[in-house]
Symmetry: C2
Subunit: 262 residues, 2 copies
């Protein structure tokens, strides 16, 4: 399924309640995404390992709209994220402080969606009714960046999250900005482990017993840069790519992986 078909599938059939100034895209695929496995790589500061990638994908942007809803403490999360973004030259506003969250998505220059609990994040966005607007803005070219839960949110569903389902969103459908799934914080089986809970690979195999969508297991430090139809693995760690009925494939940055996840 091409991204264009994907996008069309996700366009709401009734757009009457959307602000008139927004036109649906679909004529051109303008998506520009940075999907980060983990906000913090062990031994570095918050988002530090992604600073150069963030600077590049956010070129020309002055202020970024932050989505802190995966964590409970929105104000504390904003302070932490703002310090990181200011260090690389961007202002940060937060969706939780917006009087009109939908309007603030419409006017955003770019998005950064932080990690935490993916069910809570998705549930909040359904409550604020901003998912269709976010899809539309990304299709128009607004850069979307996210880490961990924020990367999962960009997928067709959040069915490959590692998180506990602490709340029940009305649906597990995500933004669908890409046509594949991401498993963030991807973890290889621990050699010699005596724990009998499922390994991550077992969980993803179970996902493929029920779903036919490729899954990119993004190790901590790995980053996906998506630009139009191109999907590039970047960062300092690799990915393990799972497709239904096929052996998993390893990818090492920098690598173009769109052929593996299409």
């Amino acid at each position: 399924m091409s991204f264009l078909h994907f996008l069309i599938r996700f366009q709401p059939t009734d757009s009457a309640d959307e602000p008139e100034s927004l036109l649906y895209a679909g004529r051109a695929v303008a998506r520009r995404l940075l999907l980060i496995s983990t906000s913090t790589v062990f031994g570095t500061r918050y988002l530090e390992h992604a600073f150069s990638e963030l600077r590049e994908v956010l070129e020309g942007v002055r202020r970024v709209l932050f989505i802190p809803h995966a964590l409970k403490d929105h104000a504390g999360y904003l302070a932490k994220a703002r310090a990181a973004f200011e260090e690389i030259g961007f202002g940060l506003e937060s969706l939780h402080e917006a009087k009109d969250p939908r309007r603030s998505v419409v006017e955003a220059e770019a998005i950064f969606c932080g990690g935490g609990n993916t069910f809570r994040l998705l549930n909040s966005l359904y409550t604020m009714d901003v998912l269709p607007l976010l899809r539309k803005r990304v299709a128009e070219g607004m850069p979307y960046t996210g880490a961990s839960a924020g990367s999962n949110l960009a997928c067709p569903t959040i069915r490959t999250t590692n998180d506990m389902p602490i709340v029940e969103p009305p649906s597990l459908a995500g933004l669908g900005l890409v046509s594949f799934q991401i498993n963030p914080h991807y973890l290889d089986p621990l050699p010699g482990s005596t724990h009998m809970g499922e390994t991550r690979e077992t969980r993803i195999r179970e996902f493929h017993e029920e779903n036919d969508v490729p899954v990119v297991g993004l190790r901590e430090g790995a980053i996906l840069r998506v630009e139009g139809e191109s999907v590039e693995l970047r960062g300092r760690a690799g990915a393990r790519i799972f497709r239904r009925g096929a052996e998993p494939v390893e990818a090492t940055p920098v690598a173009s992986i769109e052929a593996l996840v299409g």
Copy 2:
């Protein structure tokens, strides 16, 4: 909340479609449950660590109804579980082979619900429409035993599962046979880990940011035996009990824990 109140809360308001031979309980709390953290403890055979507990809770039972739906391969799972149950003197029939799943729940002497993916398990039971019948039979005194996903299913919801949400059940509400949550395969933080994904304790803390229900983190090898109002920790491993706004408490078998989870 007492178990009696809990049971009443979970009784469907319209029981017209239930077989007439079944009467709702509520006059007496007859529940008899065995909730096992993991079917297999490292270095032992399937269910072996729970054999003596299963024999005790299933005293007087000849045939047990197996629920294999947490795994995809029902037939393979049945063969494995049947070998274990036959070794300790019980016949095993499987819900997946029943022509009329509801009738087979009505007629069951006891239940064993196997582990696997909890979302898939719950979704299958909703599809077969057997959840209200299972609640009713347990309230009447039919023994219910389960491991891992099967233990999670006995809780008010499956919101404390460790599993990936590979399918979307219509609701995360479980059987509600107990008034607390279980987190099976409970895992203590790994000392020296550099992995930045959430620890199990962090996940349960996040659960308590959104829910006010006690959580029993059952380590592998730990077993809960529930009889009427009594909740006893048994088995070969301990539990960590989490309550909203309180420090976690350790429990070591054998221990009565109903005061901690009420």
